[in-house]
Amino acid sequence: MNVLKLISWELDRVKKSYLILVGILLLLQFGWLGAFLWRQNATYEEMRLEGMTGYTVSFINYIGSTIFTLSVGVAIVAMIFFSVWIWYRDFQGRGMFMMRLLTIPTGRMELFVAKFVTVMMLILGLFAIQWMALFLQYQLFSAWLNAKMIPLQGSFERAIQFDYLAMMYPESGFNFLVHQVLIAFVVLALFTFVLVERGLWQRTLWSPFLAICVVSGLIALPTFLIIYFDRYLFMDEQIGLFGLALIGMVFGLTLLSRRFLSKKMSV
């Protein structure tokens, strides 16, 4: 129950900046869609005057555009930044909110879980908003083109298999779960980095560097193993090894976080 309350407080504090982020992303995308369609209209008219036929527009042209990619990039960077900021935010200023959080009479791991779930929910939130936005954009896109009688090529389903977007539109629920697990792994790694750094920052000036070494060391070892055995294993065995390595790393990272959060954290 405590975790749920902690989550609601975390969300409450991040609400404003999250809405701003979403606002920016939507503005960027819908604004660009307008401009894109307007330009298509202009070029189509031109082509028609010159009598050239066979000009078609595909939704992929829109998705592949730099601005759209930029918006997705911004979202990703924002989330990576936030996975770290959700902790550092509580260390800001002399009045460290972390002091308050650490004196709450429940296990500190509840705090870890709460922040973890908050980040994952925010990421899923962005996914959700992007799904809805893209779907909406396609409706606008096709409606506008039909209205202007510009030939439209390819379906929405086809368009979303466009390289990196396939990550957002996995073919099956299982793939979706795998993607989320991988995202969660990245968030966990970032969390561990922060906690190790915060556990060492009063002990040595090199704490960020040391934290990076510790976390990347913990990740590098299994990765090296996977690469080394790549020569000897087949796809099914490699997946097995990868799964094992992932579980091992998750276990290692969580243990490390727990140790630093409960024993080494220094405010």
């Binding site: 405590n2 009045g95 002091m99 308050r100 004196t103 709450i104 009479p105 009063q202 954290m265 220094s266």
Partner: protein, 226 residues
């Protein structure tokens, strides 16, 4: 009783706490005295588990710390400054089972605070009072106060001193750190003096007055050669 047993702490290259051991009893006001920067706050934070000691152990009533029974009031507010007092209280109510809204309301009234004020708008003195109220309202057995009086206006100081002699603080163990003793000369039962990371004096204040006729300030003068 709070028992601090042989704790050591090093910050980067400075051994801040050499070897500190002392006790603070329940129902008594114990004052941890030391010049600025001698690790007083670190000891309090260590007791609360907010900063790990390199060595040594802290027992409260013989057991490792139970955050339900010990409240910590640092010398600065621990809530984001855009929070209002109401939001702080809501937070405390959510996460501190022993938080007593009635006690908090009484303190708010006694300190003449306005719940809707944002921490950002409050003076240092008022902020200190809010912190204190939030700490006491947890109805703790032990209350740790870090420099409660430093840099706050005289009237707030008076209100706080009055609080200590009131029933609200009765049979709670209070551990205060300060380097200016004159505000609370008459409130303290026991004084623990810290110098260069070690406990140099630990004495019952009234006994010293009775036997040696010395006030705490006198002992401080001897110890720190102020």
């Amino acid at each position: 009783m709070i028992e601090v047993l042989g704790v050591k702490k090093r910050y980067r290259n400075k051994q801040v706490i050499e070897d500190v051991s002392f006790t603070a009893n329940k129902g008594e006001i114990t004052c941890l005295i030391g010049l600025n920067g001698t690790g007083k706050s670190t000891i309090l934070k260590g007791i609360m588990g907010l900063t790990p000691f390199d060595q040594g152990n802290v027992l409260i009533d013989g057991k490792p710390i139970d955050l339900n029974t010990v409240a910590f009031v640092p010398d600065h507010s621990t809530f984001p400054i855009h929070f209002s007092i109401e939001q702080c209280e809501a937070f405390m109510r959510d996460f501190y089972p022993k938080f007593d809204p009635k006690l908090f309301a009484r303190l708010v009234d006694e300190f003449k605070l306005f719940p809707e004020d944002k921490l950002r708008e409050l003076s240092k003195g008022t902020l200190a009072k809010v912190n204190l109220a939030l700490g006491i309202a947890q109805d703790p057995d032990y209350l740790l106060l870090d420099e409660p009086f430093s840099g706050i206006d005289v009237f707030s100081k008076e209100q706080i001193v009055e609080l200590f002699s009131s029933d609200i603080m009765e049979d709670r163990g209070v551990l205060i750190t300060t380097h200016e003793i004159d505000d609370i000369e008459y409130l303290v039962d026991k004084a623990v003096m810290l110098n260069r990371g070690r406990i140099v004096r630990e004495f019952d204040v009234e006994d010293v007055r009775f036997i040696h006729g010395k006030s705490i300030v006198d002992v401080m003068r001897e110890e720190y050669g102020a």
